[in-house]
Structures are given as C-alpha cells and as structure tokens.
Amino acid sequence: MTMNVSKKALGVAIAAALSASVSTAATARETVQIAGSSTVLPFSSIVAEEFGNTYSQFNTPVVGSGGSGGGLRQFCQGVGENTIDIANSSRAIRGGEVANCNENGVSEILEVMFGYDGIVFASRIDRAEFELTPEYVFKAAAAQVVVDGELVDNPYTRWSDVDSSLPDQEIVLVIPASNHGTREVFEEKVIHIGCESVAEVEGDACNNLRGDGRIVEIAGDYTETLARLDAQADAVGVFGLSFYDQNRDRLQVATVDGVSPSLETIGSGEYPVSRPLFFYVKGEHLDVIPGLAEYTEFFLNEMVSGYGSLLEDAGLIPMDEEERGQVLEQFQARTVVSPE
C-alpha cells in the first residue's frame, strides 16, 4: 500500500517536472542573451547594465563569454529562444561561419562595429622595459628563422640574442590561444608583418610558432595571462589595452615600432597593433525578443560609446561621428552579411 502511494507520488513528480519544462519552452524569453569575445565582454556588460538602468521596461541583457569563435558558434546554432541573440566578436565574422549560420537558418546576420581596441605587449613592472618591433617578436616566436642565410629551427633563447637592443632576459611569450579573436590580430598585425622581413619564410609557414615551451598559449582570460607573469617573472604577455590600463601598477607596456600604445596613438593609427570590435545581431530575433533593437541602438549612442563616454573610460577607442552614423544606418536598413 505504502509502496503504491510512493510510486504514485514519484509519477506525479516526474509528470510535474516534464510539464514545467514544456510550459517554459512555450513562454517567450524576455531578456536579450549575448555571448562571445572576452575582450568585448566588459564593454558589452557595461552597456547592458546601463541599458537596464535606463529603460525600466526592458530586462538587463545577459552577457556570457566563450571567446569570439565560441560565441559565433553558439550564435549560428539556429533560430529560436534557446539560442543567443547577439555574438560579441573581436574580429570580423569569417566566410565559413556565415555559411554555417545560413545553413542552420540564421540568414539575417547584422554586423555592428562599435569601436577599436589596441593589443599591447606588457611585462612585469619590476623587469626590464621592452622596445619591440614586429620583426623582433617574429624572430622570438617563430618555429624557424634565418641565421647566416640558412633556415634553421629557432635558436634564440634570450631576447638579447634576437637583437642586442633588447634586454638580456629569457624569451617567454604568453599569447592568447586560437579561441580568442586577439590571436588572429596578433598573427596578422605582428607575426605576419614580422614574417615579411624574412624572405625565406612565406605563407602558412609564417604561422608556425615554436613548440619548445617558450610560447605559452592561454585559453582563458587576461587574468590568466597576468597570473602567468606572476609565476614566470621574465615572461612578456599579450593583453588588451583596457586590461593593461586597469593594471598599470603591475604591468609596464612595451613600445611597438617606437610608439607607446594609448587611446590617442591607437585612435590615430600610429600604434600598429589595433583592431575593430564587433557584435553580430540575429535579425530573425529583432521582432521577437523585446529590447534587442533598442539595446543595439543604445550601444551606438554617442553618450554610450562615443568620446567621453563610459566605454571610453573603460578603455574603448571610440569611432568618429561619421563612422558611427554609418554603422547605425546599416543596422537600421538591416544590411545582411553575405558569405563572401
């Protein structure tokens, strides 16, 4: 008898759990869901919070991380309430990703560029200062370099071996892993340019980084890179400008081609290692998820991402008025990214 009762109770509990799950699937999601680049995350979160505080009728958007690649993968899973509405990305979407998106039914990919970010090389404050060039970094990081006219496995162990102007310090370079958009910029703007100065290495061979433990790839956040620098005092890390800016008491920044990175030098293009930041909006969700369009337009407001805004304080390099206007116009006209 007792057994029967408990069996019944069990059945009721399971049925209740199942019906609860079905009923949630039916109700509409009311909060904008964002995921992606950890470089964009701080900016995106600040805007989300301000948005929630300013518009009382909308919920505060939820911002997840996962790297640019991870965010775009989630974004391209399909259309529907349990897929994200916005993918943050610190690089432009790739052709393959657009094709994958379209295949899964996400055909209205709206690209929104909202500013620039600089990538800096920084070392511990109690160590020597670095004056780098793309060529030096390439020589320190590549799998193969040219010595005496011959292509050999990278023999350099100290920065002073690469060039006598550099400090006599062990080469350890802490760089973001390939799930980060920052990695692509590091390769394009530093490694590839450095590679061009070495005629013998071409094309894909430029991307071959040494595998003897002197290059450390970090899949997590910049705090992990910073922790690495705490453990290995000689290491030089790759950071976003805003991260460096908030930890200036622990890090010192290296110049690249003699230019020190700052909001001004990156904004003017003088400092070479910078990139635009993006987020991608799912057009199919615009009329379904409340606040999605408003969030995007709020983001592009001058008070939010322009000069003197909160985001500039947080380390974003703003776009000028004209650029911002263009991006907003394109978004409002729903200009879709094509697979090419």
């Binding site: 007792t2 069990l10 799950s21 949630t24 995350l41 919070e49 939820v62 349990n82 008491d249 622990r250």
Partner: protein
C-alpha cells in the same frame, strides 16, 4: 640436560625481547607517521583558510560616503507622482506611471551628486575637473538616487544625509591595496582625486562601513564597487531546492528498492556497478550532457538555475544512492527478522523499522551530496551560467549566476586590485554556507542516531 633447557629458555626470551622491541619500534613509527600526516593536512587547511580570510575579510568593509545631499527642485523638475484616480483602469494608471518614471529618469541626477560633493569639499569645481570629481563615487549612485526619489517624492526640496558607495578605485586607494608611492602615470586615480579622497577620509565623510552591497546587490561591471552576490545567491538557492526536491526522493527510493526489494541477480549487479561508475564520472561530463539534452534537445533556457539544478541532480543522485544503501546495509538483519517474525509485511518492515533507523545516515549522505553540488562550477560553465547577469532571478527559469561561478567570474575581472579581495570575500561566503550545511548534517545525525 637442565642446562640445555635453561639455554633454550634464555634463547627464547631473547628472541621474544628482540621481536618485541622491533614491534614496538614499528608501532611508534606508524603512530608518528600518522601524526605527521594529520599535522601536514591541518597545516595546509589552516594556511588556506588563513590566506583566504586575510585577503577576503577587509572586503566586507568598504569605503562609503556619508554626506548631505539637497534634492534641488531646480534640477528635479517633474510632475507630481501619479496617484490612481477612482474610475481609472489599472492599465491607464500604469501608462501614466511609466510616463512619469521616464520623466524622472531624464533628470540630471549626477548634477545633484556633483553639487553635494562640492558642498562637502567646500570648493568650487571647474567643469574640467568634473571628471576627477566623479571618479570619487561609484558611477551608478545616480540610479540609487533616482530610485530613492521614485519611492518617496516628498524628498523634493529637502536635504538629507545619504550613504553612497565610493568608487572601486577610491576603495583600493584608501585601503592601500595599490602602492601609494607609485608615480601618477601608474595610478588609477588622478592626483587631484587622490588628494580629495584623503581629505574626505580624514574629515570622516568617507568611512569604512560594512558592505551591505556585497549581499544586497547583483554583479556589476559599470560600477564595480557595487558588485554583490544577491543574484548568485538566489541562483544557487534555486538550484539547491531543485537538487533536493529531485535527487533525495529519487535517490532514496532507488536505494531502498535495490537494497530491500530487488532480486539479487546479474541485472541488479550491473546496475550497482554502473551507479558506482556514475559517482566517479567527472562533473564536467554532466555539464556536457546537460547542455546537449536539456538545452539542445528539450529546449530549456540557457543560463537558467532550472537547467543547473537538473544537471547537479544527475551528479548528486549516485552519491545519495550509495550513501543510502550503505546506511541500509549497516542495519542488523535482526531488526528485519524481528519485524517479519511478528507478522509485518516486507513494506511495513522497511518503512516502519528499517528506514527510521537508517535516517541519520541517509540525511548525512544527502546533505553532503547537496553541499558538494553547491560548490560545483565546471558543469555550470557549460550550460551558460558563467554569463554576466545583473538581475536577481525571481524564478528558476530566469537567467542567473551561481555562487561558485560568481567567484570564477570575479577572479577573472580585469580590475585586479579591487576584485582580488572581493573574490576572497565571496569564497568566505560560500565556505560559510558549506560549513553550515555540514554542521546541519552532523547535528541531524546526532539527533536521530540510534545506539545499540
């Protein structure tokens, strides 16, 4: 003859003495080893706790402004707060109220704060110094002010003492968490802001007050000083309720069936082995499973405590089943035989006699399982609970953070000087919760324990 006997006796005694001293030595060595192991373990735990407490405790107190603020009617030019008129429908009133709220939202609340700061500093501030001035206070205090006014519009024209959070960098500066001798270029605050902060601290306007924001606020990135654990706490609470509601009845029911009713055959052996295997599966695997089944297939919402709770239930089930079975097995067969002997049915035997005695063991096992689930992070990362959420969830279907994930997120925040202490404070809160759960388990066991 007698000599040889005497010799043998001597020889035997010597052998015994020798072996006895070896045995004593062995015993002493073993005891010392055991003691050393305990000391090493205790030292490690003590170091861990000491370092967390030392870093985290200061974060429970936070630089806070206590100053007079004037709700200037020249700045706050809004209509009276609407009251619901008789005969007005709820919808109409809501619309009127929303319009009023928008109007209130457009008021330049920041200028009130600026004015109050200038008054307190007794200085005229030029417009170009506004940036330095605003760096003193947490940037979202203007919304706190707005909310205060929405609640009580009679504040208009009054001067009241308000309590406002100093910005994270001011807190870091006052606590000395950044080297105060560093050059200007390496400081987060300008020289002017630092001078003001010191001046106000000496004047008692900035005080180190108990940080209620740590408990009452949600996570914040635009104003890190106000980042708190409220959202994460609610998320964890919802998950624990789901875990308890699902895993305890399911776990106990399956353990009772397997232990007391199921026939002992090949099939139940296989089930038993697999339950043990399941208990050894790394938690991240449950996260992957949860992401693909609950979110991918069943379409449950991302980042929701509901999914987190379901995933953690899967993880906790084997622990509870194993603990319950062990506790059932430890009950002497004589109890069952006695009950059956006086004519009780099998079900009566189990529910009236065996289960009550096994209760302390079952409770302890369940609580330890739940405590483990409370601290689990890895599976939650995979179902999107590591998102930045600035709302306190009101149902388990809404997006939310969880306590261990909040620790992970703060640990990764770029404002290291402020969040290192904040992270340790969050760890202290989580540890306190765990310890109270464990204490509850011990108390329950003592209360219900039967001694033979």
């Amino acid at each position: 003859m007698s000599i040889t006997i005497e010799q043998r006796r001597q020889h035997r005694l010597m052998t015994i003495e020798k072996s006895l001293s070896t045995r004593h030595r062995k015993e002493r060595r073993f005891r010392r080893l055991g003691l050393a192991a305990v000391i090493v373990g205790m030292t490690l735990v003590a170091t861990l706790f000491a370092s967390i407490l030392m870093r985290g405790l200061p974060a429970f107190w936070q630089a806070t402004f206590y100053m007079e603020l004037y709700f200037d009617p020249e700045v706050i030019q809004v209509e009276d707060k609407p009251q619901q008129a008789s005969g007005e429908s709820q919808a109409e009133f809501n619309q009127r109220f929303a319009a009023w709220q928008t109007q209130v939202g457009l008021v330049n609340w920041q200028s009130l704060i600026d004015a109050a700061l200038q008054e307190t500093l007794d200085e005229e501030i030029e417009p170009r110094q506004l940036r330095d001035l605003r760096a003193l206070l947490s940037s979202n205090e203007r919304f706190t002010l707005r909310n205060k006014f929405v609640e009580d519009p009679s504040l208009l024209g009054q001067t009241i003492e308000v309590k406002m959070l100093a910005s994270a960098n001011v807190d870091v500066w006052i606590k000395g968490n950044i080297d105060r001798d560093l050059a200007d270029a390496r400081q987060q605050l300008s020289a002017q802001t630092r001078a003001w902060a010191d001046q106000l601290y000496d004047a008692g306007v900035i005080r180190n007050a108990f940080s209620t924001s740590l408990f009452l606020n949600t996570d914040s990135r635009s104003a890190p000083a106000s980042a708190g654990l409220a959202g994460a706490f609610m998320g964890s609470l919802f998950m624990m309720v789901i875990v308890i509601a699902l895993s305890v009845p399911l776990g106990v029911a399956s353990a009772v069936y397997l232990e007391e009713f199921a026939p002992k055959n090949r099939l139940t052996d296989i089930i038993e082995i697999n339950i043990n295997n399941l208990a050894a599966v790394p938690s991240i695997v449950f996260g992957l499973l949860g992401a693909s089944i609950f979110i991918g297939y069943l379409g449950l919402p991302l980042s929701a405590p509901l999914v987190g709770g379901l995933v953690l239930t899967l993880m906790t089930l084997p622990t509870i089943i194993i603990a319950t079975r062990a506790s059932l097995r430890s009950i002497p067969p004589s109890i069952r035989q006695a009950a059956l002997g006086i004519g009780a049915s099998k079900v009566q035997t189990v529910f009236h006699h065996v289960l009550p005695i096994a209760l302390p063991g079952i409770l302890t096992g369940s609580i330890l399982g739940v405590a483990q689930a409370l601290g689990e992070t890895a599976p939650l990362l995979l179902i999107g609970m590591n998102a930045f959420v600035a709302n306190v969830p009101s149902t388990p279907f809404e997006q939310s953070a969880a306590l261990p994930v909040q620790i992970y997120l703060w640990q990764g925040n770029e404002l290291r000087n402020f969040f290192e202490a904040r992270t340790s404070a969050a760890i202290i809160v989580l540890l306190a919760l765990m310890l109270s759960l464990n204490a509850l388990a011990i108390w329950l066991r003592k209360k219900f324990e039967t001694r033979w």
